[in-house]
Each structure stands twice: as structure tokens, then as C-alpha cells.
């Protein structure tokens, strides 16, 4: 028997309080990551508020995962807002598909479910064995695989980087003028990674997808997803114009660096929407 979606959402309120209590030991490192990223441009009070919203969004995302396949088309349409759809349409007009790049936003799966609903299905590029230092050894052993399996019927349209020929599958989708989504804040997505300053630290980012985009000749569109299934916004930035460089290494360094800057700006604008703060 299923609980109504509205009731499940209501469970989120006490659950968020409980989760915040359980996360107390992690809060100092979360505050430290936020302070470092904002370089003292936010007061302690603002940092506290952001971290509270961040933890609440964690719970909202978990709830969204439970109800995602039960959301009705009309609800998704009513609760959504798209900014920059014309940017995506311009990118697709070249008939070479488009690569949507973003970071791990809490609302990403809801946004993709909505896009599928309006006739813009997005193939997600995923890692079957994601790195998550927060999950611990026992979690990694018993939960990781189950979590990936749990997400399969929610995401539906996916390709794993461990699959043989996964790049060809991506290429095929682009050829059909389709959309492919890559989270660029996951270094394990590529054999080649490049280090950049990011949110006050140095982090590594995957570069392989840019090579793929160049060979396939497809546009790269930075995207951001904000909110949760009750109200969400998808932002498509202007198609990213790649700078030609004298060799491949400088091409990757220059262009990936600019995409990392875009991602950093998006995260600083909506810090409570990015799920990797605690992994930094």
C-alpha cells in the first residue's frame, strides 16, 4: 500500500529535524567548507542558515527519490520553471545533440524526470562504484551497490562508465540529437583529470567528456537544477563556446577551467543545492 505523495512529503519535516540532529558531528566540517568557499564573504549566521538548508535539502532529495516515479505529469509541469530553454533549443538546432554539464545538485533527478516528461529525455552518465568517503567502509561494502540499484528505475536512461563502450553509447545518443548529462564534479568519470582551484581548495575534474564533445562536434550546455519536486527551476546557460588551442592538453586545461568556474559560480549562488560539500 502506498502513502499519498503529500503525506510522504509531510514526513520530511520531522525527518529533516532528526537528520540534522544525526549530522551534528559533521556540522563543523560543513561550516568549514562553506567558510572556505565564501572566503569570509558570509557571516557565521548566514553559514549556519545555509548549512541547515543544505541538510534539509538532503532529506527532501531522499523523499523525492521515494516519490519520483509517482509524480504526475501535471504536478511536474505546475511545479517547474525553466530558465534559458532557448539556449538548449539553440544548442539542439545544430542536430548534434547536447552535453548538459552540471554538478551534483539535489534536484537533478527531478529535473531529468521532468525533462523526460516534456519530450527531452536525458541520458545520465553514472559511476557504478561511486567514491563517497562519507559512507564509510561498511556502507561502501553493503549499501553502495544497493543504492545504485535503487536509483536505476528512477533514472531509467543511464550509461555506466564501467560499461564496455560507454563512450560509443553517449556518441550514439548525441548523434540522434539527444541529451547527455555529465556531472563534472566527479573526477572518477575520466581517466584524465585536471586540478583547479575550486571553492577555496584544489580539486580534480574529469576532462574526457570535453574530448568526446570535441570529436562528436556537439555543444556543451552548462545546467543547474534548483529546488525539489514541490518547486524547482532548471537553468540552461548559453552553449559553451570552446576555445581552440594549439594542442589537446591546453585545449582541455583552458576549456575545462572555464566550465569549472561556471560550476563554482552556480554553487556559490545556490550553496544549499550542491550535495558535495561534505565530500570536499
Amino acid at each position: 500500500m502506498f502513502f499519498p505523495v503529500k503525506l510522504i512529503r509531510l514526513f520530511g519535516i520531522p525527518l529533516a529535524c532528526l537528520y540534522q540532529a544525526l549530522c551534528i558531528p559533521k556540522i563543523p566540517s560543513l561550516h568549514a567548507a562553506l567558510r572556505l568557499a565564501f572566503q569570509d564573504k558570509r557571516t557565521s549566521e548566514e553559514i549556519k542558515k545555509t548549512s541547515k538548508r543544505f541538510l534539509r535539502n538532503h532529506v527532501c532529495r531522499a523523499i523525492d527519490d521515494i516519490i519520483l516515479n509517482r509524480l504526475e505529469r501535471k504536478d511536474l509541469l505546475e511545479n517547474s520553471r525553466i530558465i534559458g530553454l532557448e539556449n538548449l533549443q539553440a544548442a539542439l538546432s545544430a542536430k548534434k545533440g547536447a552535453m548538459l554539464v552540471d554538478g551534483h545538485c539535489f534536484c537533478s533527478r527531478v529535473a531529468k524526470r521532468f525533462l523526460r516528461e516534456i519530450g527531452l529525455p536525458v541520458m545520465s552518465v553514472r559511476n557504478r562504484v561511486p567514491d563517497d568517503p562519507c559512507i564509510g567502509r561498511i556502507g561502501a561494502r553493503f549499501l553502495k551497490r544497493r543504492y545504485v540499484d535503487f536509483l536505476k528505475p528512477l533514472i531509467k536512461d543511464e550509461v555506466f562508465i564501467q560499461d564496455k563502450g560507454f563512450n560509443l553509447k553517449i556518441f550514439k545518443r548525441l548523434r540522434e540529437n539527444g541529451l547527455v548529462n555529465i556531472h563534472i564534479d566527479t573526477p572518477s568519470f575520466s581517466y584524465k583529470t585536471i586540478e583547479y582551484p575550486f571553492l577555496g581548495r584544489k580539486c580534480r575534474f574529469p576532462a574526457g567528456f570535453l574530448r568526446l564533445a570535441k570529436v562528436a562536434g556537439c555543444p556543451v550546455v552548462p545546467m543547474a537544477c534548483i529546488g525539489n519536486s514541490a518547486a524547482f527551476t532548471i537553468i540552461f546557460e548559453e552553449p559553451f563556446s570552446m576555445r581552440e588551442m594549439k594542442d589537446e592538453e591546453s585545449f582541455l586545461v583552458a576549456n575545462l577551467g572555464r566550465l569549472v568556474e561556471i560550476l563554482e559560480t552556480q554553487i556559490l549562488q545556490h550553496p544549499d543545492q550542491w550535495e558535495f560539500w561534505v565530500r570536499l
Binding site: G165, L168, F171, E176, G208, R211, V215, A216
Partner: protein
């Protein structure tokens, strides 16, 4: 028109160029698995496809963008031969 052998040689040439191998097309054995040479998890597989399309002036259809086709020299040359014939009969 390209003969089967010409096509095979040209495919090997594209492979050598794509991977920047220090070999000639002749030095790639007929029995060689292109899969192992290319490393199909890399972008090189896509560069290979794009290279083939340019070299033969064809478009490889989506349903043939499969590892089994691309990694098999016999199937690949038969497929390309078919595409060339189709294009020239128009």
C-alpha cells in the same frame, strides 16, 4: 569502386592515424582485435568512427555504432562496402 582488400587497408590506415600508432596498416594483423587496439572505453573509438566516415565519405548509422561491429574487421569492411555501394548507386 573499392575492393574488399582496399577497404580493409583503408580501415587499418584510419586506425593507425587515429591511434597515432608507430605502425603501418600492413603491420596490423588481419586477426588483430580492433577492440584491444583501440581500447573501446576511450574516446579513440569515436575518433575512429569519425575518421572512417571522413575517409570513406559515408555516415555510419546509429545501429552500427556497436562494439561488435567496430571491433570486427570483417564485419566493418562488409558494412562499409555496403554503404559505399548504396551511395554510388544513388
Amino acid at each position: 569502386m573499392n575492393s574488399g582488400d582496399d577497404i580493409r587497408q583503408k580501415i587499418k590506415g584510419v586506425l593507425v592515424d587515429t591511434l597515432e600508432l608507430n605502425l603501418t596498416g600492413d603491420e596490423i594483423e588481419e586477426s588483430a582485435s580492433l577492440d584491444q587496439l583501440l581500447g573501446f572505453d576511450s574516446v579513440a573509438a569515436i575518433e575512429f568512427v569519425v575518421g572512417l566516415e571522413k575517409a570513406f565519405d559515408i555516415t555510419i548509422e546509429s545501429e552500427f555504432l556497436e562494439l561488435e561491429v567496430l571491433a570486427d574487421l570483417d564485419r566493418l569492411s562488409t558494412y562499409i562496402d555496403g554503404r559505399i555501394s548504396k551511395a554510388s548507386s544513388r
